[in-house]
């Protein structure tokens, strides 16, 4: 066929030379590479005892954020649920009552907030959609459970420890004991 462009370059397909066809030298060559690799640094990470460092933007399991005073940030606006291509998020909104100002940052809050981790594809669109700095994808991943029900994470699984009352838990969760 004639060329369509001036950029084509034929691949090198010479027949093998006699030297290349000889058995022993080729085996020796291959073996030398293999043996060379035995003395290289082992790239395997012995998970779960060891983990590798993740990038700060890693998309793992979700957390629901609190503000500095420990109040829940989520205002149940539902944007994350709309943005979710896997339809994994369900929530129920409620109105904040007098005396609950120390629990919820906004007047409306999520009374129930669930993410189905079996549906979730960890695309990160919910984090991007949240206008309240309330949901983040953390660096933990690999949830495990015996039943499907356990993969539906409620608020108690998602909320980060309260920075005021459980400061040490929060530091531990962030990996800075």
């Amino acid at each position: 066929m004639q060329n369509l462009t001036h950029r084509s370059k034929d691949v090198d397909r010479r027949p093998l030379s006699l030297w290349e066809k000889m058995y022993i030298p080729s085996v020796a060559k291959g073996m030398s590479i293999t043996f060379g690799h035995m003395f290289k640094k082992v790239p395997t990470i012995r998970y779960p005892e060891e983990t590798r460092p993740f990038s700060p933007v890693f998309r793992g399991l979700h957390v629901l954020n609190r503000d500095e005073e420990g109040r829940e940030r989520c205002t149940a606006c539902g944007l994350c649920a709309v943005a979710c291509p896997a339809e994994a998020i369900t929530m129920e909104a409620a109105e904040r009552k007098a005396g609950e100002e120390n629990l919820y940052r906004e007047e409306k809050y999520a009374a129930r907030y669930e993410i189905n981790m079996l549906r979730c594809i960890f695309c990160g669109l919910c984090e991007e959609a949240c206008p309240k700095d309330a949901i983040y994808l953390s660096e933990t991943f690999a949830p495990s459970n015996y039943a499907r029900k356990g993969f539906i994470y409620g608020k108690e699984d998602l909320l980060i420890p309260d920075p005021k009352t459980q400061a040490s838990d929060l530091a531990a969760a962030k990996g800075q004991e």
Partner: protein, 409 residues
């Protein structure tokens, strides 16, 4: 022997008395994905093959009809998952074509870097798996470490390794971090050495060469008739490359060659992919240098200035009303989308990956079609393996770089 077992009349002189039906797949370690091939075997020789599709059909095109444009990107991740960034970028560019968004040069070059890295990752997998199917496992393990390095670069940018959902309509979700750049630099430094070793082990290796030469050949004419594109077409001798013929994302600014083969057999496909890895490396290097030349404000651009389609900065969303309104509109998918028809194609990991979208002006596409190269290659599979040995049938399957996710959408 019963009469109905004579499925296919065997030629005189065949040692077998009847053909055997052999199911290769749908879950078979040698098929690298959910493919079913019903092979009719005369001993070790394939008399006829019948391929089945649809084992992991997930109806992406239908799902997309209910999703705003930005939510379709995660679906494209799952087409050819060996090079999902290319699919993501292809989809973004299709949307940009429909919406009339023009991306700045720096964004184009960043995209080129990511797409070429994805191509390297894709080809490295395919070529090393050809090695595995020909009996050489260690090469696969050696280069796999370096695919991981590419994945780490993705992770620095988008936060994920395999199903990337990288980039947004109009650009990237964030600028490349210094960590991403330094990972890219060290990859560019170290990878050529690894590639050399990889080549050394396979390219002129007598066992490998004799195994691959002449296996599953296809002529340029047959390949064109089937609608082959990408490395598989180039291996047959046609220098067709979407990056050259209809340049997108500023590919016209780059200098690279199109490797072509002659016979279209497994060895040619391997050689073409191998050369393309080198070309891709040089493209990444060129793009990297071009990006270094941006100065001042230009050096910080990572998305087009399109407030209608690109989410405002998070800091503004928290504090400014106008930004918050745009934020809501974009997430709800309520921004104006023009009616029209677009087709955009990119040179994917294994061929021309096209997106054909019809929009009626609604929040999601009226109809969407992915042109998936794997689906087309798979149609030629029975012809390619007819009269070959069973072991070659496996080799041909991997050399076409068939990815079940892309084949079935």
């Amino acid at each position: 022997m019963q009469e109905h077992q004579h499925n296919i009349k065997l030629p005189d002189g065949s040692i077998e008395r009847q053909t055997t039906t052999l199911n290769l797949g749908p879950t078979h370690p040698a098929t690298h994905g959910v493919f079913q091939n019903i092979l009719e075997m005369d001993g070790e020789r394939v008399v006829s093959a019948e391929s089945t599709v649809g084992y992991i059909h997930r109806a992406f095109e239908k799902l997309a009809e209910r999703r705003p444009l930005y939510q379709i990107t995660p679906l494209t991740d799952r087409l050819n998952y060996c090079s999902s960034p290319i699919n993501n970028m292809g989809w973004h560019m299709t949307c940009e074509k429909l919406l009339g968004v023009v991306t700045p040069k720096r964004v184009d070059y960043m995209r080129v870097i990511i797409m070429e890295l994805a191509r390297i990752a894709d080809h490295v997998i395919c070529n090393s798996v050809i090695g595995v199917d020909a009996g050489a496992l260690s090469v696969f393990l050696y280069v796999m470490q370096y695919r991981e390095r590419i994945y780490e670069i993705y992770e620095e940018i988008c936060g994920s390794r395999l199903t990337t959902n990288i980039g947004r309509i109009g650009g990237f979700e964030r600028n490349f971090t210094p960590a991403a750049w330094s990972k890219l630099e060290s990859f560019l430094d170290e990878f050529p050495k690894v590639m050399k070793e990889f080549e050394n082990l396979l390219k002129r290796n007598r066992i490998f060469v004799e195994r691959c030469v002449g296996a599953g050949p296809i002529s340029a004419e047959r390949a064109l008739n089937y609608g082959f594109t990408g490395p598989n077409l180039r291996a047959a001798g046609v220098d067709y490359d979407v990056r050259v013929h209809t340049p997108y994302s500023s590919y016209e600014d780059f200098d690279f060659k199109i490797p072509v083969g002659t016979t279209g057999d497994v060895y040619d496909r391997w050689l073409v992919r191998n050369e393309e890895i080198w070309e891709s490396l040089s493209i990444v290097r060129q793009a990297y240098e071009k990006i270094q030349q941006f100065k001042g404000e230009e050096a910080e651009v990572f998305h087009a200035n399109v407030p209608e389609y690109y989410l405002p900065k998070k800091q503004d969303v928290y504090t400014k009303m106008e930004a918050l309104i745009w934020h809501f509109k974009i997430i709800m998918g309520e921004t104006a989308i023009p009616a029209g028809e677009v087709y955009h194609s990119v040179e994917g990991g294994n061929g021309e990956l096209g997106f054909y979208m019809i929009s009626d002006g609604g929040r999601s596409p009226y109809r969407l079609h992915f042109r998936r190269p794997c689906f087309i290659y798979y149609q030629a599979y029975p012809e390619l393996v007819k009269d070959s040995m069973l072991a070659d049938a496996v080799l041909v399957l991997s050399s076409l770089n068939l990815i079940a996710g892309e084949m079935d959408a």
